[in-house]
């Protein structure tokens, strides 16, 4: 195949794969920075993906779909917030429940509304915009994702709000002592994770494709967690990690197109193996926020 065409295919594949990961990864990052582990990203993405398609189906506008996804994502995140922040639930267990509920609720809704075998009809998706050199037009979600990375980077590292959020994840007692409302900041972190995971889901269902299929997130919520760790809980890092994972997936696709005999499983495995190595300190140490996963109880 022509090298330019091949390069363009690789870039497009990388970006398409990286976009939902980046969005969900940012969500996981905000939650953990505030001290709440959210492994329910997968289930939240699923709900977001479904709500986006349903909103777009009813209104004919992908923007209404995106709005529906965000509302649904916030509702799911609120469940996690109430359980983790107020009921002192084990956050990993609550996240596991959300993953199961997300898959169950969307499947239920599919069977109730469309009665087709696990697939929605085609709906209006976000447009492909801006004619870039070589790669051509890209889906609007790809630009949104990069824009949100930039905003997140500034919010987390350059604003007082970001400093407060990080303080709650590192040392909530100290944060509380200097007058930061730990409960409120953790609500922000958790709700943001719902917002981002839902947008990530929408970027799949009304971005990369234009319909919902049962189980369509297929583990991306977990890869996003990997990207968050590999990216060391920083927006820029998350972005680079996702692009790297995307490249890995893109190469698998290119190898198949070109008939190169490398088992695609090696590319599929790469993000996970690299994350394990990163965690083990083989390729740069990755340390989570110190207080994540521990419920905070205000001293009286």
């Amino acid at each position: 195949m022509d090298i330019v065409v091949l390069f363009s295919a690789l870039v497009t594949a990388t970006l398409r794969y990286a976009t939902p990961l980046m969005l969900a990864g940012l969500g996981g990052m905000f939650a953990e920075r505030s001290g709440i582990i959210n492994i329910g990203l997968e289930g939240t993405m699923m709900v977001g993906a479904w709500a986006a398609v349903y909103g777009s189906f009813l209104s004919g506008s992908p923007w209404v779909g995106l709005l529906c996804a965000i509302v649904a994502g916030l509702v799911v995140a609120a469940m996690h917030a109430v359980a983790s922040i107020h009921w002192r639930a084990n956050q990993v267990v609550s996240g596991t429940a959300i993953n199961l509920l997300g898959a169950g609720l969307t499947e239920f809704a599919m069977s109730k509304i469309w009665e087709q075998a696990g697939q929605s009809p085609r709906v209006t998706a976000m447009p492909e915009v801006v004619n870039l050199p070589i790669v051509g037009k890209l889906n609007l979600f790809i630009y949104i994702a990069f824009l949100l990375v930039l905003i997140s980077q500034i919010a987390l590292w350059k604003t007082p709000w970001g400093l407060r959020l990080r303080a709650c994840g590192e040392h909530p007692l100290a944060a509380d002592t200097v007058g930061i409302n730990v409960i409120k900041m953790r609500w922000y972190g958790t709700l943001l994770s719902g917002f981002f995971a839902a947008v990530a889901g929408a970027s799949l269902s009304i971005g990369m494709v234009s319909r919902f299929t049962n189980g369509m997130t297929s583990g991306r919520g977990f890869i996003a967690l990997a990207a968050m760790i590999f990216g060391k809980w920083s927006p820029g890092g998350v972005m680079l990690a996702c692009l790297f994972f995307g490249l890995s997936d893109g190469l698998a696709t290119i190898c198949q197109i070109e008939g190169i005999r490398i088992a695609p499983e090696f590319f599929n495995m790469a993000p996970y193996v690299i994350t394990i190595l990163a965690l083990a300190g083989v390729v740069g140490r990755s340390t989570p926020p110190a207080a994540e996963g521990i419920p905070y109880e205000k001293a009286h």
Binding site: W87, F108, A226, V273, T275, G281, P288
Partner: protein
């Protein structure tokens, strides 16, 4: 008999949260059955009928129970050490592949050597896979949940690669070559069902897990680490060693789930592109069973009934199977949110609490 009275009260106290969670979960199910426009009584009736309506149905429910007992025990044992082994899915998968491989390669052995060998392969492989998470947790401080999730996906793709490239059925069927007959559990303990002796193995292992946790010093140390790692360390118990040990045993149990399921049901390593789900259900089983082997067996029965009955509920009462997923998710959520039940309890007047 004040001591026996206290033991009974403790036992009933342990049961409260799981029972409340199950009832709450089933009520959530009622709401969704109503939304689906069906009769909840008829739907749950169909579920119950398909679980206990005939001997072979009971048998099939028990078939679904077996892997859940193993995976529930795996997760419960890790929980007792303060570890969340969400990696049972992957450990089960590598165990299953190793068992299938042993069943083909050593196929010439007589059954009394081959069957233990096959189980051993599954157990050791599962333990080794979990051991990675245990070592990284103990010596590098890496959170076992994140590591296990990564290892799950690594296992998914690695086993698929090994199967398709090095261990493929020569006749072109999907999955690995079939295991030797001598390696397989006989089915049909209850006629018309696939019930196999793996059930007795599961119950026996549950008993062993109880003995291990409460009647041996190793079990005591593991529980001490789970209860208060700082105090355990101060008391001369090695936290690091116990974390590794608990993960190894947990992985061994997960590997056994894979081994038994392979030797009793599939007879080979199937070509699968997703997880079995036993690891996920095992979390619910362990939580509802209060991380106690006896509770795990009962909870495994409940979740197997929901799973197996749910499939028939869809066929008979036309209620989508997804309702059962929602019920299971809700039960896990309500068990996790234990605090809410405690909060309700604490609203009682203080005097009443004192006299209790």
């Amino acid at each position: 008999m004040p001591k026996a009275g206290k033991a009974l009260r403790d036992f009933l106290g342990e049961l409260t949260v799981p029972l409340l969670a199950i009832v709450a979960g089933l009520l959530v199910g009622v709401i969704f059955i109503l939304i689906a426009g069906k009769n909840p009584i008829a739907a749950y009736g169909a579920l119950l009928e398909s679980v206990i309506g005939a001997p072979h149905k009971v048998g099939e429910t028990l078939v679904s129970t077996v892997p859940l007992i193993f995976s529930g025990l795996a997760i419960a044992l890790a929980f007792r050490c303060g570890l969340f082994n969400i990696g049972v899915e992957g450990q089960l998968m590598v165990g299953s592949l190793a068992t299938a491989w042993a069943g083909v390669v050593f196929g010439g052995l007589p059954w009394y050597l081959l069957m233990p060998l096959c189980i051993l392969f599954g157990v050791v492989t599962g333990a080794a896979w979990a051991g990675i998470s245990g070592l990284l947790k103990a010596y590098r401080g890496v959170h076992e949940v994140i590591n296990s999730i990564m290892l799950n996906y690594t296992a998914l793709f690695l086993t698929h690669y090994l199967m398709t490239e090095h261990f493929r059925d020569a006749t072109g069927k999907a999955g690995s070559p079939p295991m030797a007959e001598a390696a397989l559990f006989a089915q049909g303990l209850i006629p018309g069902s696939r019930l196999h002796a793996g059930l007795f193995l599961a119950l026996f292992v549950a008993f062993l897990a109880w003995v291990f946790l409460w009647k041996t010093p190793w079990g005591y140390e593991i529980r001490a680490v789970g209860f208060a790692p700082g105090a355990a360390e101060y008391g001369g118990i090695s936290v690091k060693w116990n974390i590794v040990l608990a993960m190894l045993i947990s992985g061994a149990l997960a590997g056994m789930a894979g081994a038994v399921q392979t030797m009793a049901i599939s007879g080979k390593f199937p070509d699968q592109s997703s997880f079995s789900g036993y690891g996920l259900d095992g979390i619910a089983v362990a939580l509802v069973g209060r991380n106690h082997p006896g509770g795990v067996v009962l909870a495994a029965l409940l979740f197997a009934a929901l799973d197996y009955g749910g499939r028939n509920m869809q066929a008979v009462a036309e209620v989508p199977k997804a309702v059962i997923m929602v019920v299971q998710g809700a039960i896990i959520f309500f068990v996790a949110a234990e605090g809410i039940w405690r909060m309700m309890k604490n609203r009682k007047p203080k005097a009443e609490v004192k006299t209790a």
